[in-house]
Amino acid sequence: MSTLTRESAIPYTGPAPTNREPYVPTDAPKTDQRGAELAALLGAQQERGQDLPTLVVDKERIVDALRALKNEHRFTLPLDLWGVDYPSREKRFDVMYQLYSLERNERLRLKVRLGENETMDSATAVYKGFDWFEREAFDMFGMRFDGHPNLRRILTHEAFQGHALRKDYDPAQRWLCTEKDVAQLIPKIDPRFANVDTDYERVTLNLGPSHPATHGTLRIVVTLDGEMIIGAEQEIGYLHRCFEKSCETHTYQQAIPFTDRLNYMSAIINNVGYCMAVEKLLGIEAPSRAQYARLVLSEFMRIADHLVCIGTNLVDMGALTNFWYLFQPREEIYGLIESCCGARLLPTYTRIGGLAVDVPPDFLANAQRLVNMLPKYIDDVEKLVDRNKIFLDRVKGIAPISPEDALDFGFTGPCLRACGIPFDVRKTNPYIGYETYDWDVPIAEGGDTYARYLVRMEEMRQSLRILQQAIDRGLPPGPVMVDNPYVALPPKEKVYNEMESLIYHFKLIMHGIQPPVGETYFQVEGGNGELGFYIVSDGTKNPYRVRSRPPCFAIYQAYGQMITGQTIPDAIAALGSLNIIAGELDR
């Protein structure tokens, strides 16, 4: 009584898993060529066959190389700095730099090989933005950077022993931080105010980590002269939960729920970014129906992210009504997400190779209803605050940052666009079909809280434009998962009725997806900037290293500088406008 028919016994004829063969990116010839040019200019070695031009620089020459890249080759945006540990190698660490050139729309990766007991020069003298990234590399790997102004732990606490992302660190250890371990933080007083003599006493004040106005577990220590902040330092890591280490001990699929918890305000964008990074490594592409759903839901999530940001920012300034007006459509957006995947805040909707399940039949009708109702709510808020003198006085000229500083700190997303720099990953490196839609990148001048508000408001309208065009095009027909049993679980019908599919199903759950050996980086435009995932695969079911490039991290390190010279209420308003999400900041 066998149900196994002749046809169903031969279900898949595509390529077999290639985990023994190295990963070859499709754009390798182009990046090799550009990498060779830059290597010749800088006198560095080149690593071939990568998805980005990759140079290997000696640790003595890295600062000179970075300076030359910044000043002569216009790599003005320091995107990321992170480490990778290869314990079996003679020089076990790779310190990785990623730079971006706005003029050429080009990315560059630099690698420095570093031994365990070696130190290297800090890049903070060239790019201010590498300050916290170097602290993170020190915290996670124990890499020491000479000349760093403040090289201490950033994500873990003072009582933590060892370096968590080293391969020989046992993740089962627990470290208890008691009150006496916590270092007293005294912020440096800004030189502009150091010698100003006022009648007031100087007070050091702790804002947070549990403070109703900080939207998450953020701690800011400020030194006040009267009401003016003359020195500020931010302390983070209260929500650190080892996202990157957890990925190393789980399979590729199991990391998708973890990415939900990065920027939980726009979780689908994180899902998409991570899944597309793994898909790039596997050399597969999700079907067009899945890409379409990813695009529509990403844009809805971006709108939801901005709604929360603007709504809570206005609450900080005492405008509670706007919060209710903006949260109503957000609620409806989460309803749409829930109808697709069964959860509102933490959807875990995408899978590597597509979507978990097809969108519901009424998806487009619901999306259209939302697109119709959203402008009314945005307009209402605009009417309330746009020409309101109280609001304008609270935001105009508050916590400004110059375009040069913003780039130097590694700003991306709405906060960079508020400085007048039109950098948007959806335009510069289009993915899931953004290039086929007619939309604009909004910018504003000034880089202050007001400019950030203006950019976000306009961005929601642009997202609505994309959504309206997408809805007009309609859902593409076809499946939502790739037809590859080494990546996608077979349909349940086959699992229940065919031995072949049951075996594939079993293999995929037990042995996971096994991408080819190699490394890759993929970036998406998150709610508050470029969200990137760098993945190293060693051919096994667990990623060797997952690095997420958190946009908040780069933005928040400039916060201390931005609020110096402002008052506490203005600092709160500025914090809301930066849209710092602790889940992403601390990972």
Binding site: M1, S2, T3, L4, Q253, Q254, I256, P257, F258, Y325, Q328, E331, E338, S339, C340, C341, G342, A343, L346, T348, A356, P360, D380, E382, K383, L384, V385, D386, R387, N388, K389, L392, G420, P422, K427, W439, D440, V441, P442, I443, A444, E445, L454, V455, M457, E458, L489, P491, K492, E493, V495, Y496, N497, E498, M499, L502, H505, F506, I509, M510
Partner: protein, 215 residues
């Protein structure tokens, strides 16, 4: 807010110039009051349309994909469909499922003697449902899981197993939607098939799976 085109694909948001009436601030505050008043009146007249749910008297009904508390389904004869294959606990990213397998004396089927889900560890991602090859674990639309001790967060077979023909209506995230023909895999593991007496008498005889599965 007016926008002006800077170059293709980039627009600049230009703040409006304030008129004298707007600069003296009181007129705009009054205008804002009128807007909120309009909302208030609209809501008072259409109070039935208010997006408010008087929980717990009224409860929100989530979609058929809602990922709530789990259940373990049963066959028509009352035995659990779960065959303790450990697929769900392997797929679980939160490592919240603990299974101990036992063997049915009568049918030689593997079945769970212990199946615990720690609901405080569970992240409700639905991976267990996707991983199950036996149609045994479903998620319901039940989202009320308040407990008073940590120990009560661990739910076992007694809480999870539902009677046969448990209505599909309260179900949430499930392995498939719509009708699906289940004939069982080649050889069959009992899905929808009546259970048969084991053809061997005692444990000393090594079980011959072909003999048992044949026919």
């Amino acid at each position: 807010m007016p926008i002006e085109r800077v170059k293709p694909g980039v627009v600049r948001v230009v703040p409006r110039k304030l008129t004298f009436a707007e600069r003296v601030y009181l007129p705009r505050v009054v205008a804002g009051m009128f807007l909120t008043l309009r909302h208030l009146l609209y809501n008072l007249i259409n109070y039935k349309k208010l997006p408010i749910i008087s929980y717990p008297e009224v409860k929100r009904v989530y979609s058929e994909r809602f990922r709530g508390r789990h259940i373990l389904t049963t066959r028509e004869d009352g035995t659990t469909r779960c065959v303790a294959c450990y697929m769900c606990s392997t797929a679980c990213p939160a490592e919240c499922i603990t299974i101990e397998a036992g063997e049915d004396e009568r049918t030689r089927e593997k079945f769970p003697v212990r199946y615990d889900i720690d609901l405080l560890r569970c992240v409700f991602c639905g991976y267990c449902v996707d991983a199950c090859p036996e149609d045994a674990i479903y998620m319901t639309r039940d989202y009320e899981m308040a407990i008073d001790t940590r120990a009560r967060a661990v739910v076992g077979l007694r809480d999870l197993v539902v009677p046969p023909n448990f209505p599909v209506e309260p179900m949430g995230w499930r392995p498939y939607y719509g009708p699906l023909e289940k004939k069982g895999t080649a050889g069959g593991t009992g899905l929808g098939q009546p259970l048969r007496e084991a053809p061997f008498e005692d444990d000393s005889t090594p079980p011959n799976p072909d003999l048992y599965r044949g026919a």
